[in-house]
Each structure stands twice: as C-alpha cells, then as structure tokens.
Subunit: 264 residues, 2 copies
C-alpha cells in the first residue's frame, strides 16, 4: 500500500518544507518511489527540488480548481531516481477563497490522487510514499491534504511557540477523522532545529516525547546552517552536503519512518 502523508503544522517556519523534501530524497535514495505534492503557494518545496514553478507551468492549482489530472502536472525530480513532484505556483494563493463555494471542496485532492495512484502504478509501478507539503494554516488547502492522506506527519520546532499551536492542530485532525476521513491518524512527529546547547530545546523535546510517546521519531534534526543553505542552490541538504549533520539525521529519520510499527 502507498503511504500518503500530510506534513502539517500551522505554526510557521517549523521545518515542514525542509522535512518534506529531505525525507523524500532520503526515501528515494533507499530505492523507494516517492511523490511530493507542493500545496504551499510559496512553492518552497518545488524550489528545493529544482522543479520549475513559474505561473505558466501546469500545477496543483489546476488540479484543485480545474480538475486537471495530476499525471499532467507531476514531473520527475532531476536529482533523485524515483522522486516525482507536483509543483505549486503563485496562483495557488487564491485557491483557498476560490474553493469555498465549490462542491465537495475538501475532496478535490483526494479524488485526483486516487486516479493518479492507479495511473502511476500502471506506468511506473506502485508509489511507496506520497508526501504533501502544507502552508502554515489550517484552511482549505491543508484540509484537502488531511482528507487525502491516511497519516499526519508533524514537524515540531524545538521552540516554545511550537507547543502552543499543537492543541489546535490535534483538534483539527480529530475533526477531519470524524467527519471527512476516518482513516486519518497522527502517525509521526519529528523534532526539528534541535540545538543541543540550549535548555529550551531539551525542555521542548522532553515535553513532546512524554506526550506523544513512540510516535516521535528517535532522531531529532539538529539546527545546522548547511540545511538552510541548500535551497539557495535548488538542492536538498542530502544532495548539497551529504556528510553534514542535517543530511545524516534526515537519512536516519527516513529509515526510522520506513521501519515504524504500522499500528502506532
């Protein structure tokens, strides 16, 4: 079965995009086949994967608003064999308001992905993972991702504000599971930008691990400037500096993700 995961957290700047592209790259390096869906109008994931996303490019906006098939939008990522990306363009910023009055507005992405999974399987073999990068809000774009996925993957920055928004995120996941997508569950949490020198990071990590137990991947991603340099070269940190602490920890986290006990 293809694992479809939504990388979500309405708190901004916690490492959603960085996690999506680096976990995807790490999974591809293990020989798995992966689709990244960029659902953030800023298109940061498309940038990090060096996938064109200026406004004339077919994009996820066309899928959501005009019903265009994902097969016309998804492109192979040059750097990694088996990695595909459905890019976001700027017009996606208007999608939230445009979707409000559309019929079955929360199911648009799910419908499109169901069709695509069958088509991709026939053409290239089964996809192992689909990772959906979300914008920092709980609006109709993130809702579409939550309805589409079976799993929620939450990156949590080791900072105080990161804890404040978790309650609201958990309530939203519960509501979606009750009303729109009974298969949805919170399966994975990853601690990001962990700075071992500060007490604050250790306190936040401790609090998250005691609250969420083994849903928190054992590996925490350290804060490292190599990680934040990589997108300026249109690369993941795994391609930019494979021996760096950031790259090694994302490779490790991806292995833990693959071997997670399914019932967690």
């Amino acid at each position: 079965r293809t694992r479809v995961m939504t990388i979500a957290n309405q708190k901004g700047g916690v490492g959603k995009t960085t996690t999506t592209v680096n976990i995807a790259a790490a999974l591809a390096l293990q020989g798995l086949s992966v689709l990244v869906i960029d659902l953030d109008p800023q298109g940061n994931a498309s940038t990090a994967l060096s996938v064109e996303h200026h406004s004339n490019i077919p994009s996820i906006y066309d899928v959501l608003i005009e019903g265009r098939p994902i097969s016309e939008v998804a492109v192979p990522v040059p750097e990694f064999e088996g990695l595909w990306c459905a890019p976001a363009t700027l017009d996606l910023a208007g999608a939230e308001i445009e979707l409000v009055s559309v019929v079955a507005r929360e199911y648009r992405l799910r419908k499109a992905l169901t069709t695509y999974l069958a088509e991709h399987e026939a053409a290239h073999g089964r996809l192992d993972f689909v990772l959906i990068d979300c914008p920092p809000s709980l609006g109709l774009l993130t809702l579409n991702a939550l309805v589409c996925a079976q799993e929620v993957f939450i990156p949590i920055q080791c900072e105080y504000y990161a804890l404040e928004g978790l309650g609201q995120l958990m309530r939203t996941v519960t509501l979606v599971a009750e009303d729109l997508n009974p298969a949805l569950r919170l399966s994975t949490i990853l601690l990001t930008m962990f700075d071992a020198r500060t007490r604050l990071a250790a306190q936040v990590a401790q609090e998250v691990r005691s609250h969420f137990g083994d849903r928190v991947l054992p590996t925490a991603i350290p804060r490292s400037v190599r990680v934040s340099e990589a997108p300026s070269y249109g690369q993941t940190v795994i391609a930019y500096d494979p021996g760096s602490s950031g790259a090694l920890s994302y490779l490790e986290a991806a292995r833990e993700l693959v071997h997670q006990a399914p019932s967690s």
Copy 2:
C-alpha cells in the same frame, strides 16, 4: 497622528510576532502609547504579552465577526505602562471562512479601529502606534490589517526562502493600495535572526538592503536563544533579559523607527 502598522509576511516563522511584541515594548519604554492587535489565531503575541486569551475572553474575533467595539477587548499589558493589547483567541481560525460572505469584509477592522482611536484619545490620550501582528498567510485576516493600516512593516529572516515570498507580498500590498487603501505604503523592513557567522545571512541582508534602500532599518536583530526563551515566561525579551543582544537591538530598532523620515 497615530502610526498604524501591519507586521506582515506570509512566510512562516520569520519573526513577525517577536518583532511586534518587542518593538511595542521598546516604544512603551520610550514613553509612547501603543496598541498591539493580535490577528493570528495562534495568539502568540497575546502569550508573549501575558494577556489572557482562552476562548471565553472577548477578543478580536468578536470585533471582526460580531462588530464588538475594540474598547471592550483591548486590555492594558501588565509589564509596560502605556502598552495595550487586543488579544486573539482560537476561534479566530474560523474567521477567514466566516468573513468570505460578509459585506465589506476587508473593512471590518478598519471601521472598528477608527472608532477606537477616537475613544482611546478621549479616555487616555492619543495612541502613538498601533501594531497589528498577522498570521503567515495573505488571506482575509491579513487583508483586514492591510486595509486598516497606513504602513506595512515587513520582518525578513536572513534565510534563502525569505526572499522567495517577497514578490507575492509586494504585489498584494500594491493591489490593496490600488483597490482598497490608497494610503498604504511599505515603510519599514527589519532583518531578523541575523547570524553574523554565516555567509548566507550576509548575502540575504546585502540583497535586501540593495533592493529596498533606506526602508531597511540600520539595525539587524541577531539570532539569540534569549529571544526565543522569553515567551515561555510570558515575557518580551526586553523584560526577560534587558541586557541581551536581542533586547538591545530591538530597543535600537524602535528608536530608528520613531526617527524614520516620514516620506520614505
């Protein structure tokens, strides 16, 4: 005249809230009177200012959706004489969708603030500054703030992704100035989380200064763990550790803001 500023940037985690509360505190220490409006459903600004914001508290949600006056919502901030805050509660998360079909939906905040500025002046004297903290999106909450303000204040994190979203933000400011609020202009940019040890931060800062000229405040805010520790004590860094590099640079940036040439 009261300077009404929107602290906006749809990129997440760039220091909008940290800038709003610390600039507000620094202005209050100079004897100015300031109102902070928290327009982010996460309520991070309310937290940092130790203002209660659980769901039964009158909040900015009531102002936007039910037309409640700001005078029933704004409370004095305990730590700083002359500093007030209109808090955000969680129900604000639903406001964007609720506002879509409301008449004059972009003008709700502006109408409420115009009334409040007159009331506050009669009761406590003229407000010198109003700072509006926005969520990381360009939806109806940020639009309300842009229609309400005369100035846009953009915090820019010294990271690569920070440059990507600027074009979209500028276009939105231009559209609002053309169609909804002709007085609106981009007056101030502040560089945040500047890490002097990295080449990336220096490159981003150089690019922003060459592009925006003297609208960029001379002081850049350094990355400093004391800044991120402060909110866990319900404090601004100015109250938490007044001698720290973060506190001193926010005090300096606030002085520069007050003495900015009005025509910039």
